[in-house]
Symmetry: C2
């Protein structure tokens, strides 16, 4: 197995493969020899290479884990550097633009299966990689009518082998839903962090801590994701703003019943999350802080 981009995401794939002894050899491909050496020392890969062509020789599976603005180009390059039986999959947070770019390339389309494992951290780098990062987490696959079934089955088996639960949806739905469940929320975390100055921080409790956590993430990665999924993020923000305007007008009017109804209609969605994730129902909620 070859991993292109050995950071938190790629490094965790490597650690999982090595911990479970699923691959004869795990090769990391990156631009920095120092980072590849570190990844070897951390047990994320068996060896590193700064050359795509050399690193991908003999690879049965290539996992592209570079930032979203580089994923499509790296998939296409990997497709050209490997034989017809090499499965190529990725871990990009957006899917439609990546899938479109790859489907425009005859070589890539014949062996690429788009994937997005829903796992990570606000930390980055192989130093924060974990062999169990994908254990029990969802990995979304976004095959299209053009995706070869045999490769789709291999991609399912691959992501399952490192612990992920597979969900299949189409790329556009992926991007529309992820704009709401992940991309926009990162911007909202940053917007909240922006209005809480360091002087107020000693007064912040659990709500602020959890809601602003991902604002500590790497901005350059997130700016790329926002731009790759711009349309869906703008639409999600428009709906979010509409929801907030309902809250604001009920608050300005001092209308307790409107506010309660507004809260309850949101709360049922959160309770659905709790139920689906085995957190149990919360028959009587508390103060939240």
């Amino acid at each position: 197995v070859a991993i292109v981009g050995v950071g938190l995401i790629g490094g965790s794939v490597g650690q999982a493969l090595r911990a479970k002894q699923l691959a004869k050899e795990v090769v990391g491909i990156g631009r920095s020899t120092a980072k590849l050496d570190e990844a070897v020392a951390l047990g994320a890969i068996d060896r590193g290479s700064t050359s795509l062509e050399q690193g991908l020789q003999d690879a049965d599976i290539v996992v592209v884990c570079t930032p979203v603005d580089r994923v499509a180009a790296d998939i296409i390059a990997a497709a050209r550097a490997t034989g017809p039986n090499t499965l190529i999959t990725d871990a990009g947070s957006t899917k439609q633009s990546i899938v479109e770019a790859c489907e425009a390339d005859d070589v890539a389309i014949a062996k690429f299966v788009a994937a997005h494992p829903i796992a990570g951290s606000e930390r980055s780098g192989a130093a924060h990689a974990r062999a169990d990062l994908y254990e029990g987490r969802v990995c979304i696959l976004t095959p299209t009518a053009q995706t070869p079934i045999a490769f789709l089955e291999r991609a399912k088996a691959f992501w399952s082998s490192i612990g992920a639960r597979i969900i299949e949806i189409d790329p556009a739905t992926h991007d529309r839903h992820l704009a709401r469940t992940s991309h926009l929320p990162h911007a909202l975390a940053a917007a909240l962090a922006a209005i809480v100055t360091p002087a107020m921080v000693p007064l912040a409790g659990g709500a602020y801590r959890d809601m602003s956590r991902v604002a500590g993430a790497d901005g350059s990665l997130w700016v790329k994701i926002f731009l790759e999924n711009r349309g869906a993020v703008i639409q999600a923000l428009s709906d979010y703003n509409q929801t907030l305007r309902s809250f604001e007008s009920a608050l300005v009017a001092g209308d307790a019943e409107l506010l309660r109804n507004w809260w309850e209609s949101a709360r049922v969605n959160r309770l659905a999350y709790d139920l689906q994730n085995g957190l149990g129902s919360v028959p009587s909620g508390g103060s939240g802080e």
Copy 2:
């Protein structure tokens, strides 16, 4: 010590006092005999009473832990039911309206010290109380020029004795800052939950999980807090909206540099939180999810 309102907050005060053997007796005052019996069974109080007058007899300290719209009236009633040496403190999430109401009452003002321990959970009820809920957490005291120094010192000693770190600020600053660090964030969590339907929930990762957690809280409690601190919450929302508009216009323009600058100016605030809370600096942030 008497505790008026034995839910998560009051029950945790009682459990801490009993675990540390700080009080001769902990008496709970509430409206429901069944809930008081449950609080006794859970070890939160020694005995319960549905009568304020009877429950407060011989109390050295009264802690009012009822919902914010009832706190001021309960403090004033407790002040009238106790002698001149009884300290009365509270745990209300808003402070200015409570302090104003109590300062308009000659009996209450002579022995009341306003407090807000920054601790809690999205769960409620004595069943979720914990003896260590206040351990290492901040308790904000909001004394004014009218607060008797001797009672202020006793309030500091009381909240410190159950593990809290004391911060003193004035009631208006408390409400302005808490609107940003706690009250508005609860509404933002609900607004996010509102746009993520149950069908999208399987695609939600850590960012959604943490950012919507408090949307599971009891709406009736939060509606009261929003209304009690309406002006500051509306102002905080206005600043938040302005921040989001900057994000939106940079995104619509596709301006990566503006987006990166926007993200970084928010991120430094979050890193200040990490530093102050011993979470260490995060030299290179990750993907966030």
